[in-house]
């Protein structure tokens, strides 16, 4: 009887850890291949040069494809209805600082939520968990860069947890 009680306590402690590890926490640095250096973009005028847009300039980490991940960032809403967001871009910084170049393609994730989420403070940082896909290039069936099928969205609390 006593053993059973200890077992229940143990189960109780362990189970949240087990469930939370379903989504592996990653940082934005992990999304960048270790040997890649971001080049400063050329000064050429984007619209004048007739530059062919490359499908992806910044490479993705292939190993992260089809991984269940959890990452924190800022939401740029793309598809929304009222306060419910269904699709958005997740980026590491907010505010489109003029002094630095925009985030490269491997530092943003296009997230498509399984269920639209109501978020009262869309400008605040959030944790997003979901299934990540990493595509090297644009094909008929897949868009280049990082996409995620989002399962959970949580606002960050003030301690940054």
């Amino acid at each position: 009887m006593k053993n059973l009680r200890w077992f229940m306590v143990l189960l109780w402690i362990v189970s949240p850890l087990v469930f939370s590890s379903e989504y592996r926490e990653v940082s934005w640095g992990d999304l960048v291949p270790k040997d890649w250096l971001q080049n400063a973009p050329t000064e050429q005028d984007f619209f004048e040069s007739g530059l062919e847009p490359q499908t992806i300039e910044a490479p993705v980490v292939a190993a992260l494809n089809k991984q269940k991940l959890k990452i924190a960032g800022y939401i740029l809403p793309i598809k929304y209805s009222g306060m419910f967001i269904s699709e958005f871009l997740l980026v590491p910084t907010f505010g489109a600082c003029i002094h630095t170049p925009p985030p490269p393609e491997n530092q943003m994730i296009y997230v498509s939520m399984e269920e639209p989420v109501e978020i009262a403070t869309p400008w605040a940082p959030v944790w997003v968990s979901g299934l990540l896909s990493a595509q090297k290039s644009q094909t008929k069936f897949a868009t280049a860069g990082y996409q995620m099928k989002g399962a959970n969205l949580e606002a960050m609390d003030f301690s940054g947890q």
Partner: protein, 420 residues
Amino acid sequence: MNPLLLLRLTFKSILNRKFTSGLTLFSIGISVCLLLGVETIRKEAKHSFTNTVSSTDLLVGARSGSVQLLLYSVFRIGNATNNIGWDSYEKISSHPSVAWSIPISLGDSHRGFRVMGTSSEYFEHFRFANERALSFKQGRPFSAVYDAVVGADVAEELGYKLGDKLTLAHGVYDTDFARHNDKPFVLLGILERTGTPVDRTIHVSLQGIEALHTDWQSGTRSRDQVSAEQTLEMDLEPKQITAFMLGLNSKMEIFKIQRAINNYKKEPLLAVLPGVALGELWQLIGVAEKALLVIAVFVLLNSLVGLLTAILTSLNERRREIAILRSLGCRPSQIFILLASESLLFAVLGCVLGVLLFIFSVVLSQPLLQQYGLYISLASFGTEQVAFIVAVIAASFLMGSIPGYRAYKQSLSDGMSIKI
């Protein structure tokens, strides 16, 4: 001793003090109505605004603030500070990353409604509220220079049918000296209702706007007037537009294109993500709407305290009545319930009155609010509002237990002494 009797006694007791009861009830009703109204406007405003534009990746205008750009280009609130050159628009919209673009020209009006110059791409690519496309109730998009397509509210309020003639005016206010009387437009299409500012807009081609202003180059009507027929011979390619919307081939390129537009050397431009600009708008409004809610809550508390005061005051007059009830065998606990249920009854009736007042004021104010892009409907009445009402009733019952308790104690100590 059945509860129905207690209810009857409470009810009759309240009726006996008709005037003060009526005032208290009215006060609670108004504050409930206010609370419901504030909450509804908060929710509905957000909904109204976010439903206005959908599937647009970037909004571009002359460099100003992002919220300002959003407001004038999408909500038709406020004005642009500057225009964009047609060359810049062509250059940017022809870039291979761009899937579609919609140019917009604002600045004219017609009998209180804004006029928007645009291209046929508007009817093809514009989306609102969950990717709904525009559809026509009657007629079709414009094709000739002096064709016009109006939104549902314009047609309804001004009683327009297909084929009617419209005279547009220069500037936002429709005054006699500002009208382009010599160049009337023909109504070619009426759009289905969208619940967005589209309903209150008159759409014409960019060429139409250009034709309109051929003799307004100096800012006012020039001496040599150009007739409508003459304008048809002229080259009406627009030279300037107010703003444009972009849809891109790949969402991942949004930042690249946005940065490129912001750094465009030929002209100072601003490109924003509508979703982000909306978020900034909420931050601005957020403080105000929270303040509104706090005020509404305080108004309600004030009414409840008023109710408490009214009941406590009546308590003194009712000591005799309570003594009589005691002599008839009424238990002190029943005295408590009698008094506490009085405030409960007030609260319930007050909430009913408040809801009725709320419905009434929504119906009354709908047309006024629509002019500001707020589309309030009663459909938003959901669980949150019901929770509010339940909270109000519960709070009143708690308050009612104060006089209830006092009456309870008094009934025990008074005994049979005649305390008037």
